[in-house]
Amino acid sequence: MTAPADDPSHDEAARLLDENEQLKTELESVLDENARLIEDRDRLLRRVAALARELQSSNSLQITRPGDRTGEHADAIPAATKLSESEEELRVALEELQVLTEELEVANTGLQRANEELEERVRARTRELNGINADLRRSELRMSTLVEGIPQLVWRSGDRGDWTWCSRQWSDYTSQTMDEARHLGWLGAFHPEDRAVALDAWDNAESHGGLSFEARVLDAAHGRYRYFQTRAMPVRTPEGVVLEWLGTCTDVDDILRLRHQQNVLVDELQHRTRNLMAVVHAVTIRTIKGSRTLEDFRRCIDDRMSALSRAQSLLSRRGSQRIAFDTLLRAELSAHVDLDSGDSRSKISLSGPEGIPLQTSLVQTFALALHELATNAVKYGALSAPSGVLSVEWQLVHTAEGTECLHVDWHESGVDIPEPDAAPRGGGYGRELIERALPYQLGAKTSYGFTSDGVRCTIEMEVPVDDIRLETDYARTPA
């Protein structure tokens, strides 16, 4: 903002005012001179009038006494002398008057010229002033267009938040009228918990050379508060005296929310990376314990790391969506068999709705468990036997408590089952993950056992209900 003292149009106006003052003084002196001349003339006129009256009375005396002429002859001469004296005086006075009148005429002509000149100068100045006023009006229009066009809420204030004016945006946003916002009325549009912050900032504004704070302002149209960055700068005279404060409130709610989201994501990334390292460590240790030879270990760890990689890649691709059970299942089975081949179609039956979401924290463990089940099926189970069939059925079940559960039934048939006493084939890691890991992490109910001709495994877990899951998930998730 520009202080008025720096405004060029302000300088110009001051110059014009000076000039007007000067013209006024000139005009006054001419008028004084004129008045003096008029006064002189009036005085002379009075004198002429007095002389004329005197002369007239002398004449009438002579006329009204014609019979006395012989008897009073001696007196006639002095009277005549007196008359000629008066006439002489009148003549002089008239001459003086003549001179004065001429002088007055000259003065009047001068006055008229001065007047004309003045009028011309006034017209010129008026034109100039009109031009400046038009400039000012244009500048004002630009300023008000700017003030009303910017997204910021703009206001003016005296010391300590004593508002004097607010822009239309403030009123539009908070539904406060200008009268309501004036003085400390604006405080009512701030969140009650943030008002102390605002007042505190005002207390320190002058010593800090500016006002700056973040606080929530009421978005009246939506009935909620949003974070605004409030700033103001003092408008000072050249001497440094604060005339007023010009301030803005800028909506920073989105920025703050994004910053927060970013922090959450960085946290989450930290957490996941560390956890993943720990999981890799745990799986490696476990694989070492379950391996008889280095070759055993190499093959097994390779498969398990691949399963973890697939889970990670699903997790990183999902964006804000949850991973669906059928997506995870198909990803794990596809790593072992070609689901689209004719052989697979006759041996593998998958049936259930698409898009049932999984708890994100469970995806990794679940992926490993499905990987172990699939590995065992390929090595020893339904996918190894010519007559074997793998059937996976799943459904969404509404519980009595009003929650939703995913039920999975992994059922192999047509398989020769080993003796019940025999050690579990494949080290039993899959079984452990199903029986212990899934219940441990999310309270899933699971079972793992053998029917007469194959493995039978059931999993029942709660489906997450939160904002990540959208109604459209079911339709959108690819098969």
């Binding site: 946290d267 930290q270 957490h271 996941r272 990376t273 560390r274 956890n275 390292m277 720990a278 999981v279 890799v280 460590h281 745990a282 799986v283 240790i285 476990r286 708890q359 924290s361 990794q364 463990t365 490993l368 993950l433 212990r436 890991a437 899934l438 441990y440 992490q441 999310l442």
Partner: protein, 123 residues
């Protein structure tokens, strides 16, 4: 050879990821300790602390499936049971009141676990 420096110690493990919890349990058992839990959530941890008379120390994961473990930590402080945080987090995620609590960065190795836990156990 394991050093058995935690022989007979009863150690509570709170960790939401089964694979990690299992790994930690193995490492502690190898060091001679008796593992309480592992438990995967705040509720189970609170129940275990309430029911166990003797807990020598605890190992706490910070983020338990989205819930922070700090309430559990406060309960342990109240019972004067020493504990350490196992964390994948930066230091700032931990409240100031736990500034003095030792931290183990994941992945936690067995030897590291023993050397951090053994000295804090009140004999």
């Amino acid at each position: 050879m394991p050093e058995h420096r935690l022989e007979g110690r009863r150690i509570l493990v709170v960790e939401d990821e089964y694979l990690i919890a299992d790994d930690l349990r193995d490492a502690l058992v190898d060091a001679g300790a008796e593992v309480l839990g592992p438990v995967s959530n705040v509720k189970d941890a609170a129940a275990m602390i309430a029911s166990e008379v003797q807990i020598d120390c605890a190992l706490l994961d910070i983020n338990l499936n989205g819930a922070m473990v700090f309430d559990v930590a406060d309960t342990l402080v109240a019972r004067e049971i020493p504990f350490v945080f196992g964390t994948g987090y930066d230091q700032w995620a931990i409240p100031d009141r736990f500034a003095q609590v030792p931290r183990l960065e994941k992945p936690i190795k067995g030897r590291q676990l023993t050397s951090v836990l053994a000295p804090i156990i009140v004999v």
